[in-house]
């Protein structure tokens, strides 16, 4: 009996001790071996790169965040892109006291600014996603996984789009930060820190990439809504070339810019909408003018960034939120007199692009944090062109027109004015007048060749494109962002003052400098 117990106990002991299995697999997420067994994986992954401009994590409206070093709601790509392009300019102010936010308005940011940090990490999050997609979609990997021919045939287009999205973010990267780390699919996850490439080197890389992938992109106007095609590629080229002088410190690309515009125009895929404002309403997915959009939906794509932010933040004071298709206002964004004064009148009766709410608001901004100071701008609304509210009172249906055909007219005209030899002034004036006729609903606003000069272009761009995330880049190209040009609260002075030219670049975040020894901070920070 005892012997049996002895032997039994020792046997149990030996048996259990043999168990050293430590391979436990995740249950909520999928490891790559599992994930890529489904052919739909590639579309899911590629779509995530596009969605990277819109959502902040894998749970809507917030949760399972992509970026962790700040509040998830603040980490939206589009929200920060917009804030960094608009708040330091003569087009917008914001009332809130969040750490570092007033500094965006006054050009008083430093390397620890959380919004600058958010934008920086968003750029590289997109780059990392695209790189990983390119690593996982090589012909060798597809072969080893035995994907269907249907998926394999699409892969050259998918890969081209991933490279396009990487190019887009690299462009944002050099536009905001100048010299930036550079990293492609050739490095692996967790590898050593990338080295810093000059703004010019990255610019050249992006230009080459766009040329290389052009043939693999879908024809202009044929991509499923939300994806990029040749139209988007040409638009990115046009914007790159237009600012090429800034990025390369002197080399100009006016002819290339005009070429890109011509390709877009000649494709015939895009036309101006009859109503300017319909580009910014809840049913703007039907806009014929949008070349590339960032998509939102009240039910399916919820976030506290994007157009949800643009609609809510601009509502407050005596405004009735319901009129804009939402349940409340966040009382944040207004504009400055400098924008209002660019229009012939503030009511929009003459130039319908002047979309201001003035009741109970002062025109001047005495205090940044007082919402009733400064006219508000309900340009983005969660209500359709037919007056129907969006699907959700909090999260907007409105898509963000990242690239809009109207701007092509302006780029063409500016490039010609600046010296392009492959375009002509008459066409340029005609393009400008097309925009102005739409705005005036008649030809009263039309200009003549003699009226077209660079100052006019800068103002006309503001009238047409205000609050569309282009103003900072425009002011820099025209030399008006820092040491020239004043507007209220620039330099943290009520009347405004000029500022140091180093502010044309945002600082590389302090966190990044600590993590990557190879980087040098931008001058002046």
């Amino acid at each position: 009996m005892k012997k049996i117990i002895n032997i039994g106990l020792i046997a149990v002991l030996a048996m259990m001790s043999a168990c050293t299995d430590l391979d436990v697999q995740p249950k909520n997420d999928l490891t790559p071996d599992v994930f890529f067994t489904d052919d739909a994986a590639y579309e899911r992954f590629l779509t995530r790169i596009y969605a990277g401009l819109a959502v902040t994590g894998q749970q809507g409206p917030a949760g399972n965040a992509d970026i962790k070093s700040l509040d998830e709601g603040f980490s939206s790509y589009l929200r920060q892109y917009w804030q960094l392009q608009e708040l330091p300019t003569d087009e917008a102010v914001i009332a809130w006291n969040d750490d570092g936010l007033p500094d965006l308005v006054t050009q008083g940011w430093s390397s620890t600014n959380q919004f600058v940090r958010a934008m920086y990490y968003r750029v590289f999050f997109q780059v990392s996603l695209a790189n990983e997609f390119l690593r996982e979609s090589t012909p060798e990997k597809l072969d080893s996984r035995g994907v269907s021919k249907e998926v394999a045939d699409q892969m050259s287009t998918y890969r081209a789009e991933a490279r396009f999205m990487r190019a887009l973010s690299y462009w944002h990267g050099i536009d905001f930060f100048g010299d930036i780390p550079f990293y492609t699919e050739d490095q692996v996850i967790g590898s050593t820190a990338p080295t810093q490439f000059s703004r010019r080197e990255v610019f050249n890389f992006v230009v080459n990439e766009l040329n290389e992938i052009e043939g693999d992109m879908l024809e202009a106007g044929t991509a499923p809504y939300g994806r990029a095609d040749k139209g988007a590629l040409w638009m990115l080229q046009a914007k790159l070339y237009l600012n090429g002088e800034v990025y390369t410190d002197g080399e100009t690309y006016w002819n290339e810019a005009v070429d890109a515009c011509n390709k877009i125009i000649e494709s015939g895929a895009y036309t101006l909408m009859d109503e300017y404002h319909h580009n910014f309403l809840a049913d703007n997915d039907r806009s014929t003018e949008t070349i590339m959009s960032v998509n939102f939906d009240g039910d399916a794509t919820q976030t506290f960034g994007g157009t949800t932010y643009l609609v809510h933040a601009a509502i407050g004071g005596a405004m009735n939120a319901e009129n804009y298709g939402v349940n409340n206002g966040w009382g944040g964004l207004r504009t400055l007199p400098s924008l209002v004064d660019r229009f012939p009148d503030e009511t929009g009766n003459i130039d319908e692009r002047a979309i201001f709410f003035t009741e109970g608001q002062t025109k001047a901004v005495e205090a940044i944090n007082e919402f009733t100071n400064g006219y508000t701008v309900p340009k983005y609304q969660n209500i359709t062109s037919e007056g129907v509210p969006g699907s959700d009172p909090t999260f907007a249906d409105t898509d963000y027109p990242m690239f809009r055909f109207g701007e092509v007219h302006l780029i063409y005209a500016e490039a010609v004015l600046r010296g392009a030899t492959n375009g002509d002034l008459g066409t340029a004036v005609a393009y400008i007048n097309a925009l102005r006729q739409r705005a005036y609903n008649n030809d009263a606003g039309n200009i003549a060749e003699g009226d077209l000069n660079l100052d006019f272009i800068l103002d006309e761009r503001s009238r047409e494109l205000y609050w569309e995330g282009v103003r900072r880049t425009d002011l820099i190209r025209f030399g008006q962002f820092t040491e020239n040009g004043t507007w209220a609260w620039k330099g943290n002075i009520r009347e405004g003052t000029t500022t140091s030219p180093h502010l044309r670049l945002y600082p590389i975040p302090a966190e990044e400098l600590l993590a990557n020894d190879n980087l040098e901070q931008n001058q002046g920070y």
């Binding site: 020792i10 579309e43 894998q58 993590a515």
Partner: protein, 1003 residues
């Protein structure tokens, strides 16, 4: 499990069997000690049966119905040996049998539990502190850890808040980690338990009824904790539950109390009159936004809370077995309206020896249902305009409660307390069976032990918000129903061999080697329904929800270990302990998942030396100890080393194209997550030097310890070079942290006479922590931490090399001549320009104090005079600083400027009274004015009791009254200086003061 139950049922049945004899007599007699004094409550047992009795107040006993013939009776008494005598009983007669019990040296030897075994106290080489039930804190205690708050040097038990049954943060010798957990490992009767919080319960430890606990043993240094390897870095708390005694007659104990609690102190917000004055002065244009009421929102939300507790236990045993069965019920209201906790618990212990004590089986099974009703919090009471009413009869959209009907405005907390339903329950069962078998046949001194256990925690939390509370005026949807379930299980198998042998007269060797397997599985299905078509179904209305969001999360991890320990005792003078544990964890990649955790310690019992004979006159004990070891931490979440794709939920899809009808097609996207394939264990190397001493025959004794603990490969979520991984931050091994400290424990038996006794126990601990390294962050850089309420992304703490963890990082406020801070209203510099660059910006923030106390202490007094007893616990800390976020986020005049909620309507926020001193117009979140010295001394509890003399049938009866949290001495201006370990005071659940009236009865 089924077998355990079967066993339990079988023995329970056996207890009920009354042994019947045909011919019976009676035995009576007296039990006395060696001096002839009567022993009260000595156990007298009829050997070979489960029958017995206990002596009365005069030491007399009577045992009836003893079968005729030669019988053996055994007498036993705690601290004395067992004595067995033989007597002949005749049918119908009464015989007398007296016992005189001598003091038994063996029994008096104090034994302390260590991991996987126990040792004599003198043989302990590690820092092990044992707290027995008689020294526990008194009061209306829900969570077991509160029993030893203030009782052990270097153990800080910081209650999170004052909610009924709320959890605590426990820090043994400071925190060794930053990102991974800093909580110690809890082991209950040999079963390491899972101590992570769940939605359905305020504190997962609440399943354990405090009155079932016999002792706590805290293992502090690496020599003691390294046997738990990867889970030992933050110390180990071993809980031993009460057991049945072999050979004891059945004893029934009841303890019950009634308690009543209320808030102590004032939150410091303006009343309606003062508020109106401030508005009149500062924002007269907003006077029309005020109401005409005088509402104290705190009074509306706080109440006098009552509670009750009942514990009943039966314990006893026979010749070879002992049992204890207990049941408990506790119900406590919280002082915030609507909050409550309830526990119904049972416990069962059975142990039995077979085959001449060769086989020992011990079984524990305990379980509880805890039910928590969660309150909506009182954050809104801090903000709401006191001139507004609670009710607004015309406001049908909000059920007749006052509401601004805007999502930016504070919600009416009374409306929340009345209309919202938020309740959780958890069913937790933990059981284990230990089997020990002596293998002397194979090798003398060898035995084998197995421990099989389970820990299952299941439950749910249900939330219901009617459309009259949550609707699109204030939220994104109309009405909410949420059902969260959770299941957490862990299974344990331990097997080990013990070898305990005196090699010769002077050499004694104790070896232990074993294997352990523990698997943890968690599952969290969740159902959320929004936009209800009716409120009538309450929490049962999921079917009424228009939009539903189901989800499920599943996790599993496993720990497999091999371990060994050798204790070598040379001549009772030198004791050497060495342990080694090899842990394998599923939380790390194949390259790094096995970790090795060694420790070694030596103790020198000075008084055992021949030359130390002379010291015996002074000392009764003198022991030096030195230990060194490495422990680990793996508490980081699962699968962090693996590449994974996370899918988007239904609300984070993205439109790609349209279908044939022109409707959008939404794609569920997949995102690759960031990961570090080389993730490794966090390792803490600790050195401890200790001295134990005793004087006057042990009446005065104590211990002095010095320790240093260095944690390397700190697991930390850090920013990685942009582009090199799939997020900005990745959990990786980086950084180094050091804790250094000194602890002193003193016990004094000041008085000890038959009429009067007085024991005083004190402990004091000093700890200092310092960040030694953080990635490649050097110099003045650091990682901002300590998010506060007020703005998004505002942080007031920093991790910086060379500084304490989470040191406050603020501006130095310039003071006026009268000591008040310069206001932003005046045209003066408010802050010191630290870098003298002529402007105040973030570069001028500086390190100013930190939330961890430099010194914390506890003092326990137990006094008895005749039948009266008086016990109290005082606890305190010195040098702990708190950021008063309640004041910083509310103490400025702009709060009354009003927030526009459309249609030219405004709401105003109430103002903290600190504004009357500071005169701040705008918030000054980063001012050091709000970093306050929160050193304190708290009278935790005082108990006065009276014990009645035993009467026939009643062996003990004691009535007592306890005052809990009666006094706090502090300079801190907020409600309570203890705000949790992070040192940020942000409207926590106020800690109540209260009284308990109780009775204990023993049969």
């Amino acid at each position: 499990m089924k077998n355990i139950l079967r066993l339990v049922v079988a023995f329970a049945a056996a207890l009920l069997l009354v042994q019947q004899g045909y011919a019976q007599g009676t035995v009576k007699g007296t039990a006395t000690d060696e001096n002839g004094e009567a022993l009260i409550g000595a156990t007298i047992l009829l050997v070979g049966s489960s029958r017995g009795t206990a002596t009365d107040f005069d030491g007399n006993y009577v045992l009836e119905n003893v079968p005729a013939g030669e019988q053996q009776l055994r007498a036993s008494y705690t601290g004395y040996g067992d004595f067995t005598k033989t007597i002949t009983v005749r049918d119908g007669e009464t015989v007398t049998l007296d016992f005189q019990l001598g003091e038994d040296a063996e029994v008096l030897e104090e034994v302390v539990v260590i991991g996987y075994g126990s040792v004599r106290k003198e043989d302990a080489t590690g820092v092990v502190a044992k707290i027995e039930d008689k020294n526990f804190n008194r009061g209306a205690i829900v969570s077991p850890e509160q029993l030893i708050s203030g009782k052990v040097a270097g153990v800080q038990i910081a209650p999170g808040d004052g909610s009924p049954g709320g959890g605590s943060a426990i820090r043994i010798r400071g925190g060794t980690s930053i990102n991974a957990s800093n909580e110690p490992l809890f082991v209950i009767d040999g079963m390491p338990i899972d101590n992570e919080g769940v939605a359905g319960s305020r504190n997962p430890l609440n399943f354990l009824n405090p009155s079932d606990i016999e002792s706590f043993t805290v293992l502090k240094d690496a020599s003691a904790t390294a046997i738990y390897g990867s889970r030992g870095a933050n110390g180990v708390i071993i809980i031993t539950t009460k057991k049945g005694q072999e050979g004891g007659r059945p004893r029934v104990n009841y303890d019950g109390y009634y308690t009543v609690n209320e808030i102590r102190g004032e939150p410091g917000m303006l009343d309606a009159g003062n508020f109106r004055d401030v508005v009149t002065f500062f924002a007269p244009s907003r006077l029309n936004a005020l109401g005409d009421n005088n509402t104290n929102w705190f009074d509306e939300m706080l109440r006098q809370a009552q509670g009750q507790n009942h514990s009943l236990s039966v314990s006893g045993g026979g010749q070879d077995f002992g049992y204890r069965i207990s049941a408990g019920y506790q119900q406590l209201e919280g002082i915030i309206r609507g909050s409550e906790t309830e526990r119904t618990s049972f416990g069962l212990n059975y142990n039995h020896k077979f085959f001449d004590d060769k086989l020992k089986v011990s079984t524990n099974l305990r379980g509880a249902r805890t039910r928590d009703i969660f309150d909506p919090g009182i954050g809104a009471a801090w903000d709401l305009d006191p001139t507004q009413p609670v009710f607004d009869a015309d406001n049908d959209a909000f059920g007749g409660f006052f509401s601004y009907g805007n999502s930016l405005a504070p919600r009416n907390p009374v409306s929340a307390a009345e209309q919202r339903v938020d309740q959780g329950q958890s069913f937790r069962t933990i059981g284990n069976m230990e089997i020990e078998y002596a293998l002397d046949d194979l090798l003398e001194g060898l035995s084998v032990k197995t421990n099989v256990g389970f820990d299952i925690n299941q439950g749910d939390r249900n939330t219901f918000e009617p459309t009259t509370y949550t609707n699109t005026q204030v939220a994104n949807f109309n009405g909410l129903v949420k059902i969260e379930n959770f299941t957490r299980t862990n299974y344990l198998f331990d097997a080990y061999l013990n070898y305990d042998k005196a090699l010769n007269e002077r050499n004694n060797l104790k070896l232990t080697a074993g294997y352990s397997y523990q698997d943890f599985y968690e599952q969290y299905p969740l159902f959320e329904g929004q936009n209800l078509s009716t409120d009538q179904f309450g929490i049962n209305g999921p079917a009424q929800a228009e939009d539903v969001f189901p989800s499920n999360s599943v996790f599993e991890n496993r720990l497999i270990s091999f371990w060994g320990r050798a204790i070598y005792n040379f001549d009772e003078r030198y004791i050497l302990t060495a342990t080694l544990r090899r842990d394998g964890s599923t939380r790390f990649g194949p390259e790094s998942r096995w970790g090795l955790f060694p420790s070694a310690a030596v103790a020198w019992r000075v008084l055992q030396e021949d030359w130390a004979e002379g010291l015996n006159n002074v000392f009764s004990d003198l022991k030096f100890r030195v230990s060194y070891g490495i422990t680990g931490n793996q508490d980081i979440g699962d699968y962090r080393y693996l590449p994974q794709y996370a899918f988007s939920d239904q609300r984070a899809r993205y439109q790609i194209g349209t279908d044939a009808d022109g409707n959008p097609i939404f794609v569920n996207t997949a995102r690759p997550n960031a990961y570090d394939p080389g993730l490794q264990w966090e390792e803490t190397a600790s050195l401890n030097v200790g001295l134990e001493f005793g004087f006057a025959n042990g009446r005065f004794n104590g211990a002095l310890e010095y320790y240093t603990q260095t944690t390397s490969q700190l697991l930390f979520e850090v920013n990685v070079p942009a582009g090199t991984n799939l997020s900005d931050r990745v959990l990786t091994n980086i950084g180094e942290l050091e804790n250094q400290g000194v602890e002193l424990t003193l016990n004094a038996n000041i008085l000890n006479t038959p009429d009067m006794s007085w024991d005083l126990t004190g402990n004091v601990a000093y700890n200092r922590n310092e960040v030694l390294g953080l990635s490649n962050i050097a110099g003045d850089a650091g990682i901002l931490r300590g998010g506060i309420a007020g703005g998004v992304g505002n942080n007031v703490q920093i991790l910086r090399v060379g500084q304490a963890v989470d040191a406050f990082y603020v501006y130095e406020h310039i003071l006026n001549d009268d000591g008040t801070p310069v206001s932003d209203e005046d045209d003066l510099m408010m802050y010191v320009d630290q870098n003298e660059d002529g402007q105040i910006n973030e570069l001028d923030r500086r390190i100013f104090q930190n939330p961890a106390p430099d010194i914390f202490y506890g003092l326990t007094s137990n006094f008895r005079f005749k039948s009266f007893d008086l016990a109290m616990t005082i606890r305190g800390a010195i040098g702990n600083y708190v950021y008063n976020n309640n004041a910083s986020n509310r103490g400025y005049f702009q709060r009354v400027q009003g927030v526009n909620i459309g249609d030219d309507r405004f709401f105003l926020n109430n103002v903290h009274e600190s504004v009357l001193e500071t005169q701040f117009v705008a918030p000054q979140y980063f001012s050091d004015y709000y970093v306050e010295d929160a050193s304190f001394m708290r009278l935790d509890n005082v108990t006065l009791g009276y014990t009645f003399l035993p009467k026939r049938g009643i062996s003990s009866l004691r009535l007592y009254v306890t005052g809990q949290n009666l006094l706090v001495f502090t300079k801190y201006s907020g409600l309570d200086p203890e705000v949790g370990v992070n040192g940020i005071d942000n409207a926590p659940y106020p800690r109540p003061m209260g009284f308990i009236f109780g009775a204990s009865l023993g049969l």
